[in-house]
Subunit: 310 residues, 2 copies
Amino acid sequence: MSNTGMKIFAPASVANVACGYDILGFALEKPGDEIIVRFSEKPGVRITKITGAKGKIPYELEKNTAGFAAQKVLEHLGETRGFELEIHKKMPFGSGLGSSAASAVAGAMAINEMLNRPLTKRELLPFAVLGEQIADGAYHADNVAPSLMGGMTFIRDNATLDVHKIHVPRGLIAVVIYPHIQVLTRDSRNILSDSVTLKQTIQQTGNLGGLILGMHNSDLDLIKRSLNDVIIEPQRAQLIPHFYDVKEAALKEDALGCSISGAGPSIFALCANTFIAENVGNAMQKVLSDNKIENDLFISPINHEGSIRL
Amino acid sequence: MSNTGMKIFAPASVANVACGYDILGFALEKPGDEIIVRFSEKPGVRITKITGAKGKIPYELEKNTAGFAAQKVLEHLGETRGFELEIHKKMPFGSGLGSSAASAVAGAMAINEMLNRPLTKRELLPFAVLGEQIADGAYHADNVAPSLMGGMTFIRDNATLDVHKIHVPRGLIAVVIYPHIQVLTRDSRNILSDSVTLKQTIQQTGNLGGLILGMHNSDLDLIKRSLNDVIIEPQRAQLIPHFYDVKEAALKEDALGCSISGAGPSIFALCANTFIAENVGNAMQKVLSDNKIENDLFISPINHEGSIRL
């Protein structure tokens, strides 16, 4: 193996997906993070370069999701060689698109690829989740699992990483808009009430079941009826200026559904085809631009591969 | 068409199915209710005989789930001929096995069969639900839908009857035990707290999604991990003496899961095959018998046909 290094890509992801708070996520084809990994003379993992993060990401392994995940894989494998990582953040940071998860995934993948894949992606999952936990505080896989494994992933239980890939209907395409406002994941969690009504729980289980069935059966009408979040969205929407206007614009252009991506502030919509997605994207962007909120728009099919070596 | 009458069967059903409060149910092959229907000289619907209910079921249409459902179908079809119904209750009453739902289903089916099926089962559903509402107070289909349509049914939304049949793995078999104690559906509803924690809601959506995926993929291990009710069962268990002993006995004999059937007091278990089901049934029955609680035991495959003309 030469030591020119390998380049690893890990995609952005949309967690929660309306009715699946903490248990659903899907991967995008773009944007995503890249890590270049090389063998090093010094044992362990070292981060030698970080670009695209405006100095906001620490080089210390214990505070860096990619470095920590890489380190955990190394320890697990009992590998004594050393590795250098260059982290190239190529996606917005603190956007609700699973940026820290993507880095953690790329870090875990980097070591595994350099060592000729001793572990399957399923086996890498816990190390990537440990990496992301550094940024997020919680041990949960709703961004990490789709970024690593691709597709739409359902997590029955985060503690045991009981993770399952859900069938994605042909042609399904995601629109994601990132308004340039700051929402801290921590605030976004703290705002949530610990109390839910029984009626809301019945609605949420109904919609979650409907979404899974709709995906499995490629029943777009059922997906549309199910893409509703009666619990989290009403609480977090207040952190995102013009959220309901953006959502209304997306639904008017025939999005199957529209809600907050992860902890926000990004907003996602799912659409039946590219034509609709373009219209939905334009309509969502117009609302933010009319209100002088800078934004980035991404239109992407569901990414079925997840993290890859480029 | 002769006027010797037709005999209609509608099966018992298990609602909630652990993690699917108000939105899941499945039908049994036995027990069930029978209705004999004949044309009558007098227009409208008349109940001429009720057996097996110890005088507890009223003959007035407005208070009788079978009669009311039949009447609603008649009105919908604009039928001017009259019908007589004999209701033969062949399943325990107030047992949590969907007795009133089965009668409502049989009543709706009776008229439709006599008229040569002008309506599909899907089209009959709202009338049967209206019939059951008389007994239950709530407009919901978690017993009515499986009793009518068979199989395991998932109801995304009761108000719009967004009902879907779920694939049932080959060989899956149900054990149901009815302890002879009285639990009124009304009490069983009133005992429930209106407040649920966010954590419980996440667990419940995870388990509900896991159960649907497990059923679809015939993944018995996933079904087993998912058959847990963290919200309703802990509250209702107190109404059923020795519930946790019965459950423990069922799980010890390798049941995939065990919980309360509908509003109780019946307790159901799902099992991978008949051999296990026999052991599970014996173990559950032993707990009740040892505690001198009379009971009825039913072991039945999932009924895939639902209500039929015999």
